[in-house]
Amino acid sequence: MNRIAIAVASIWVALAHPLAAEEAEAVINVPPEGSVSTEDGLAAWERVYEVVSNPRCANCHTGPDNRPMWSGPSYGKTRPHGMNINAGESRMGAETLPCATCHITSDAPNTVPHAAPHVGLDWQLAPVEFEWFGKSSAEICAQLKDPERNGGRDMMGLAQHLVEDAAHKGFVLWGWSPGGTRVRAPYSLQQHVDDILAWGTAGQPCPTN
């Protein structure tokens, strides 16, 4: 192989690597320690809450009944997912009807309104500890800062989780480009990562209501 070919090959390797910088959908910029006041941290949290309570996120962050929800302007009224869907304790329908029956795994864009959306990861509900649907800002805040209920993550862990999911064209990224007539999550993925880090730097303050 000549040198140009090697250079081209290594570019391909770099592009194919899911976390290569050229591909990153969002980057992690941690604010300097002590640079975010509690007040600004709470404001950042409120933006985080707007994202996580958006139908694009909350519809699949449901509780121990393992039923995804249909809510938001594209559905009209709030109701459980049609077709009597129950994702079971596997949270991906392994013991009932697998989510993948309809939600294929593909990073192709979602273009058809009302069709089953797809992402680059296998479709599933979030773990049951991450129950967000119908929960208050204070409740979700307490869950997200509790390593027992957030997958053992500190603020960096949370931010990395978002960035890595996005690098696989996963659910997080899809929330901002859901396709069809679905409402998208507010702000942007980068703003969301920045807000998680600002909230974390402020000491993860939570509203008290």
Binding site: T96, L97, P98, A100, T101, C102, I104, H118
Partner: protein, 154 residues
Amino acid sequence: MQLTVNGKTYEADVEDDMPLLWVLRDELGLTGVKYGCGIAQCGACTVHIDGMAVRSCQTLAGSLEPGAEITTIEGLGAPDALHAVQQAWVEHQVAQCGYCQSGQIMQAAALLDMNPEPSDEEIDLVMSGNLCRCGTYVRIRAAIHAAADKLKEA
């Protein structure tokens, strides 16, 4: 692209974003698989990929794993050796107009593979994504129980 359908290898010159449903029906002439909605709402287009029931209207040709084994209603059983689900369907005279039934049968066969003795509730959990405008649901359920018994005896 190369596809394996019902144990046969086919060559199809299609775009990556063509739904498998159209590859099967329009390119390969396998018209047992039906188009009902194109948006994962009805189940008429259900086929198996590596034994799992999927909606072929949602499956993009380009998303198929190389070597994936696709099974359609044409390959589930043979006319002289019907699959237990097909036999039960005939015995219970399940079909009315028949349009939804190839999807129903493919979904039911996958259900029994996973759960050889489903309760009524388990049948409803798995089969509720397969709509029947003729309302044959009661016979579908009875035929699934009958097919389960047949498979147990076999």
